[in-house]
């Protein structure tokens, strides 16, 4: 498709341009909804649609009030000057959601990345027994519908894991129960499980181009396996590990179905807060949050692209 040849017929010319127009429209379909929310989030009016004033570019039709609303929503005294920061940090709903999202996301990512990287290294060894079967089990959290995962985890994690109560008579007091459901631990575990397939897939993809003789060389020069792993293998597969970690983080950061089942109101994450926002009181605050999330994903995309280039350079492939 590198340009039209000079001998192209009229029909070919028409098709050539028509095809590009069609592709252009598909790109518009892909990107337009994401771009539309940015100006809408600066709407002065509490609507999801462009007002006439906005379309004629009048300055007072635009405002940042919904961005302030992200900070203020849920605060005890949004107009107070004294203790404004503490109030916001403690009480604002969206701030709490941001804290929850990062807390759960980061811990789940650490868990998923460390276990997932090790497993990917193990799985890519030729002597690994039953590697196909194990691989398909480890990938399954990505395939099983989230509702089933969420319901199952909620159901299983609601069991009382305190062995003292297993043989006790009658009902156990709530504070003596060891339940994983409705705790941060449960959410972190769940999100880690959902993130691991992405880590395995990306790290395995990096390992395909990994030269195994490097490990043998390190071993023959007297490095112990641990040292070999951290000094030789790890730096080379690091781009894969980081992009796997980013995938795991975004999986947790974007996950709402399991949170819907397993989290209390205090443990709401950003997507959970958006979910109830869309369902209950739809206001442009959601659009403001969405705009911020789009900016975050642009940042992530940039990091990933840089990583990909670095990885290709390291592996001696041509830079993209």
């Amino acid at each position: 498709m590198s340009g039209l040849p000079p001998y192209a017929t009229t029909g070919q010319r028409i098709w050539y341009y028509a095809f590009r127009v069609i592709c252009g429209l598909i790109f518009v379909f892909l990107i337009a909804p994401i771009l539309v929310i940015v100006p809408l989030s600066f709407n002065q009016q509490p609507y999801f649609s462009f007002t006439n004033e906005m379309l004629t570019l009048q300055a007072d039709a635009y405002s940042t009030r919904w961005y302030w609303d992200i900070l203020k929503n849920g605060m005890a005294a949004p107009e107070a000057i004294e203790g404004w920061w503490a109030d916001m940090w403690q009480n604002a709903q969206w701030i709490r959601a941001v804290k929850n999202s990062f807390f759960i996301g980061i811990l789940a990512t650490i868990l998923a990345t460390s276990m997932g990287t090790l497993a990917a290294v193990g799985l890519s060894r030729s002597e690994m027994p039953y590697s196909k079967l194990i691989m398909s089990i480890l990938i399954s959290p990505m395939i099983v519908p989230l509702v089933i995962t969420g319901a199952s985890m909620f159901y299983f994690f609601s069991y009382d894991f305190n062995p003292m109560n297993w043989f006790a008579e009658g009902e156990t007091a709530a504070e003596d129960k060891w339940q994983i459901a409705f705790t941060y631990g449960g959410l972190i575990i769940a999100h880690a499980a959902l993130g691991t397939p992405f880590v395995i897939i990306t790290v395995t993809a990096t390992l395909v181009g990994f030269d195994k003789s490097l490990v043998q060389a390190a071993n023959s020069l007297g490095a112990d396996p641990l040292r070999t792993f951290f000094k030789v293998q790890m730096p080379l597969i690091l781009p894969g590990v980081i992009s796997g970690a980013l995938f795991a983080f975004i999986t947790s950061f974007d996950e709402v179905v399991v949170v819907l089942q397993m989290a209390t109101a205090q443990q709401r994450t950003i997507p959970r807060q958006m979910f109830s926002g869309i369902r209950e009181q739809i206001s442009p605050t959601i659009l403001a949050v969405a705009t911020i999330l789009v900016i975050i994903s642009i940042g992530l995309l940039t990091v990933l692209e840089l990583l990909r280039r670095r990885s290709e350079r390291l592996r001696g492939l041509s830079p993209g």
Partner: protein, 500 residues
């Protein structure tokens, strides 16, 4: 080897046979490899595989009734389900009711029976209140407290509830009913919702997969055949949606498609809505894309002229009327002009609330909305595998075919397209698998007719609290997904899955 065997087995320096030493070394390295995988495998088994298994077992096992009503359970299980319920059973039932009321667990037991036979919840709670004062003969006392105790089918339903290990839920997930006497019949017609739901889920997933293919194929082709630098730039347009939160994209589609949304605004501004309207008038049956504007013509007419419009509408043939017109005419003939105009006002208010006042399409909070938003969300999952396959097809093949005399179409269809089939398979299966279990988008923009099976599972988990039915519905869905996953593994291979 022959050389070695003739001189006896080879040994290492310390005298052990080489073969055994090698086996030991192999075993050790296998163990090391397994040791690397073991933590994650144990983790996934413990927090993912085991919970799902336990939850699926719940679909077969519901001990609620047995736990709270032990005495009657024992007798009910012995009962054949056909003969007349005995006095002994009634006595046990009364004893259980008294005990359960004292323990405050009667509600749970009653809810369980109510799942099998609706209306029995109040029968249980009401009878339990009177149970303490009952005297023999208990059967007569029960019937006196609530006449339904005299029905054999109620006792059969209780027997089903008392059976803790039961196929009833999985059968219910397939619209079958398990009866107390052990027979299985179809659920009554108006309650056969699950099969319809599964079919609708399949239909939505299939349409989404086909739309993703139709939209993804040209884009992947363009990306694979452009210069690397341009392609990478355009790739951002595919990857940005891929990395953007699903909630954000669903919100964005609400802003795009709602009554006063961007798409409707653009169509109203350009007059495109009139073109579509006229076009659709040719086909009276426009199915899903309900055209509220037609309604609004009728509603505005009734509000403006009252009687005259209603007369005109009544004169129309029933199948030519819009739903609003039919409703207003029905009310007009039943309760007169005033009520019909009031209804028109209500419809107008409703239309304005959703923003369909002036000839706008309702494209969100229905199946259309679900389809559009899901296609958008899953499209990158089609484009990326297609692109990575097309990238490996040398463009020289197409040129060779053309130089041998093939037309453009033949060259594409006979030479290029067959080579893209692995990518199509990978993309389609991935999209279909992800679509079939989709929850968020249908829940937020699906309205009534855009709901999928996942939404029902969630409903039974969190609202109706019928966890066993949720588990059974989930089980059926899981079987479908696992089959597709197996197929994907066979056709594509899970180790070939890649992102970006």
């Amino acid at each position: 080897m022959t050389d070695a065997t003739s001189k006896g087995p080879l040994t290492t320096a310390d005298g052990t046979p080489l073969k055994r030493k090698l086996e030991q070394a192999m075993f050790a390295s296998r163990l090391r490899a397994f040791g690397l995988v073991a933590p994650l495998l144990a983790f996934i088994l413990a927090v993912f595989v085991v919970p799902i298994t336990v939850f699926m077992v719940r679909g077969f096992h519901n001990p609620t009734y047995e736990t709270y009503m032990p005495k009657s359970t024992e007798l009910l299980l012995e009962w054949d389900g056909v003969s007349e319920p005995t006095e002994e059973m009634a006595a046990a039932m009364v004893a259980d009711l008294i005990q359960a009321r004292a323990d405050k667990t009667i509600g749970r037991a009653a809810t369980r029976v109510n799942q099998e036979y609706s209306g029995t919840r109040s029968m249980f709670t009401r009878t339990a209140r009177k149970a303490a004062k009952m005297e023999a003969p208990f059967m007569a006392a029960l019937v006196k407290a609530h006449k339904n105790w005299g029905k054999p089918e109620v006792w059969q339903a209780i027997k089903v509830a008392a059976t803790s290990w039961t196929p009833a839920y999985f059968l219910a997930a397939l619209d079958l009913k398990y009866k107390g006497d052990g027979s299985v019949v179809w659920q009554v017609e108006e309650r056969q919702i699950h099969i319809t739901l599964f079919l609708r889920t399949m239909e939505i997933s299939l349409i989404v997969t086909l739309s993703c293919f139709a939209l993804g194929f040209p884009v992947a082709w363009l990306l694979a055949n452009l210069k690397v630098r341009t392609a990478n730039l355009l790739m951002i347009l595919v990857l940005l949606p891929f990395w953007t939160s699903i909630l954000v994209r669903t919100t964005a589609w609400i802003a795009m498609l709602q009554g006063q949304g961007v798409v409707n605004d653009l169509m109203a501004f350009s007059g495109l809505n009139q073109v579509i309207l006229q076009f659709m008038l040719l086909f009276r049956d426009y199915g899903d894309l309900k055209l509220a504007s037609l309604c609004s013509n009728d509603v505005n007419g009734v509000l403006a002229t009252g009687e005259a419009t209603l007369q005109t509408l009544s004169a129309q043939a029933a199948d030519a009327q819009t739903t609003c017109a039919a409703e207003m005419v029905r009310i007009y003939s039943a309760s007169g002009l005033e009520a019909a105009v009031a209804q028109a006002g209500a419809l107008k208010a409703e239309a304005l609330r959703w923003g369909y006042g002036d000839e706008r399409f309702s494209m969100i909070y229905n199946k259309t909305g679900t389809l559009v938003a899901m296609t958008h969300i899953l499209l990158p999952f089609m484009i990326l595998p297609l692109y990575s396959v097309m990238k490996t097809i040398p463009p020289a093949y197409l040129r060779a075919a053309k130089s041998l005399g093939a037309t453009n179409w033949t060259a594409f269809w006979r030479v290029y397209f067959p080579q893209t089939v692995p990518g199509i398979g990978a993309g389609s299966m991935l999209v279909f698998i992800l679509a079939i279990g989709y929850y968020i988008t249908p829940a937020l923009v699906g309205g009534q007719d855009g709901q999928m099976i996942s939404n029902f599972i969630d409903f039974h988990m969190r609202k109706s609290l019928n966890w066993s039915l949720a588990a059974a519905l989930g089980g059926v869905l899981l079987i479908i997904v696992m089959f597709l996953y197996w197929l994907y593994d066979r056709v594509v291979g899970i180790d070939n899955m890649k992102f970006g």
